[in-house]
Symmetry: C2
Subunit: 426 residues, 2 copies
């Protein structure tokens, strides 16, 4: 059978990993797939400075047309990231009759509908496994394995940077800034970590997963996002006393009042499988009436894990090049999101240590139908932290209550509110 | 696009689950796959007594030819189990130009080579996801996602019955017989549980997984198997004191001296991901230099989870009906297994409480180059249990030593020897 010919846009860490993987595993791949996978062209802005691109059997250039307009190329692998010119180039590749494999979550979370529609018209495949959770086959599992599923809830740990920071804080009783610095040192966090720690990266990934799981169009803007920057070591210590741990969760639930899509740090049972997901690992926990609760955990980023996922998509195309392309967006209606939600909340108030402080806080909570399950205050110098665990409360009520409380003179910092999640219990 | 027509051999729990799943999820499946999946014929020995088979749009009969010789049928789903007549029927289906989906691990572990070869000649697909670990896509992940992988080690919890019994013993300090009785009550264990508790079921599954991971022919007989029937609550308690838990592991390792394939109860670190796999769940932990350490955990058996896996295979066939069939057995050479291994061992001796007992045991161990890391004996009435943890020792040496020790007058029951495994540390 003839070779499958690959054109690569972008030879950064993942692109480099892919080139290496294809070289090292050529024989095994040939045996396993039944045909040869061969890179024929690589476009990279700074190709001249990259030693690993020199003296190879493929053409290299800083001009993308070497890939996009190359009649030899069967599959275009897009690894440049961002929206522009990625969007244009992916559309151009499809228009030129090429399959596309991409690791670009931003592109799919924002222009997925347009791209899937173009692919459908061109009858070409879009491989997107690498866009979410690196080596973990979360996309494929949702779409190809649990094809009959009716996922009720998904809980993802989809950002390795945040999980690394959170588990370091938890295990070493370390402030956020210190854990972030270690993550940066180890190359797990960017110099400007905002995109990761704000939860946006996880939200883009959740948008992609939810659209597959729920057969509706989901965009990044449908998702409520809270990041991890306000967490303190005390939050971890208090969580532990409650038999819980904190994780940044990407949550998608199908409920009678609509879909609930969120990214937020949450307290989960310390014995839950998701609590065992530590350091830079990613995970996806799904609950479906047919296949039952399932979790996959492993490396969510990095050159080789991500290149592995790209390669899996290329191999799938090699097998079914002329088959019917995957239907990624089986519904084009927008998902109906619920407007409110009930949660148990963990609240941490930073207050002055005065008589009547607790009375003032609890009165406002009571006025908003929020009842207190437990309360805790450590001795210490002012300002002090007061931690309250609520019973089930309406999210909108809590927002109103905190607006009032945060305006009080006695409150010295915005109140931290974390939700309790119960994966698998709903 | 025309319907994909399914013929079903065997309508037991899994077959019934598949019929239900296809009915309930027909619309979603049509949207997701882009074509309709339709059962046209069902052969079942006792079809007349099964209410859920009556009044349907498909034909039913106790004669398999209604499926095998039916020109309408595109895919034959074999869910009768066992080797005979399954082997014959699967071969006949392929010869008649039909794709095959099977959940039959015994068939694949014993006649996989013949069946894959026939499928290759007929250019038809064999779907086998349901043969190992139910709803968990372990087969697909090995073969389609981590296609470039060079798996160094795999640790599977592949038998839900054993895992249920072991975690009950561990958590409730319960003897084996009592935990088994609960498993039987809950329907997790057969009246005759031998096939499960001896480790044979897990060994058949490991044979299939190893042949995919290592590209060699692996048969059940290549695997050393030890079951769980000799475990006592004391073993669990002692493991816990060592910061470990016991699991029945299916282990496959690629090492410089050959491949190591085993099924045995082993002590693993209590903080390892595999230790969080409890009750009737299954899991597979893989370690590969490209995708990194990864684990998937969930329901390994049951009507709906297994039917989900069957459905995933059918859907894959629906998409690539005329593509190149999967290359399941990419190597037909037999795997070279290592002849010996080094392990740390947990040993439990049941002895009389006499002076010199420990001296006699430790002398034999020393004579076989087995050095003792720690020793423990609880006070109690005779016979007493003496627990020894060894340093790294040669497996063959230990076997000789135990042969001698077990013949001593002071030893009142065969010595229990469990290995310490370190998944992800090699």
């Amino acid at each position: 059978m003839k070779d499958l010919k690959i054109g690569l846009l972008g030879a950064g860490t993942v692109g480099g990993g892919l080139i290496e993987l294809l070289e090292n595993r050529q024989q095994a791949l040939q045996k396993r797939i039944g045909r040869n996978l061969r890179i024929v062209a690589v476009a990279d802005r700074s190709y001249a400075r990259k030693a690993f691109l020199q003296g190879k059997s493929f053409k290299v250039s800083d001009d993308a047309s070497i890939v996009l307009e190359n009649p030899e190329v069967d599959v275009v692998v897009e690894l440049i990231g961002g929206l522009d010119p990625s969007r244009q180039w992916v559309l151009q590749a499809l228009a030129n009759g090429k399959h596309v494999v991409t690791a670009n979550k931003a592109l799919l979370a924002n222009h997925g509908q347009e791209i899937f529609e173009e692919a459908r018209k061109a009858r070409k495949e879009i491989g997107l496994e690498a866009a979410v959770a690196g080596a973990l086959p979360v996309i494929r599992n949702l779409r190809r394995v649990w094809i009959g599923s009716e996922i009720q809830e998904m809980f993802g740990i989809l950002n390795g940077t945040c999980n690394f920071i959170i588990t370091r804080m938890q295990k070493e009783d370390m402030p956020y800034e210190q854990a972030l610095a270690i993550a940066q040192e180890k190359g797990f966090a960017e110099a400007d970590p905002t995109f990761d720690v704000s939860g946006r990266d996880a939200a883009q990934k959740l948008a992609i997963l939810s659209s597959l799981a729920f057969d509706h169009l989901v965009q990044e803007t449908d998702i409520r996002v809270e990041g991890i920057t306000e967490l303190s070591p005390l939050d971890h210590a208090m969580a532990m006393r409650m038999g819980r741990v904190i994780r940044l969760l990407a949550v998608a639930k199908r409920k009678s009042d609509g879909y609930h899509l969120r990214v937020h740090p949450a307290l989960i049972d310390a014995n839950h499988l998701l609590s065992s997901v530590e350091e830079e690992n990613n995970a996806l926990f799904t609950n479906d009436p047919y296949s039952g609760p399932t979790m996959i955990v492993g490396r969510g980023a990095g050159a080789h894990p991500t290149a592995s996922a790209v390669l899996g998509d290329i191999a799938a195309i090699a097998r079914s090049e002329d088959g019917s392309p995957e239907v990624w967006l089986s519904g084009t209606e927008k998902l109906q999101c619920a407007t409110d939600a009930w949660y148990r909340f963990y609240l941490r108030f930073r207050t002055l240590d005065r008589a009547g402080v607790l009375a003032s806080i609890s009165r406002v909570l009571a006025d908003h139908d929020i009842s207190i399950a437990s309360m805790h205050q450590e001795e210490g110098s002012e300002p002090v932290d007061v931690v309250i665990l609520t019973h089930d409360a309406r999210e909108s009520n809590l927002a109103h209550a905190l607006e009032l409380i945060n305006k009080m003179d006695i409150i010295r910092a915005p109140t931290v509110a974390l939700r309790l999640e119960e994966p698998g219990r709903d």
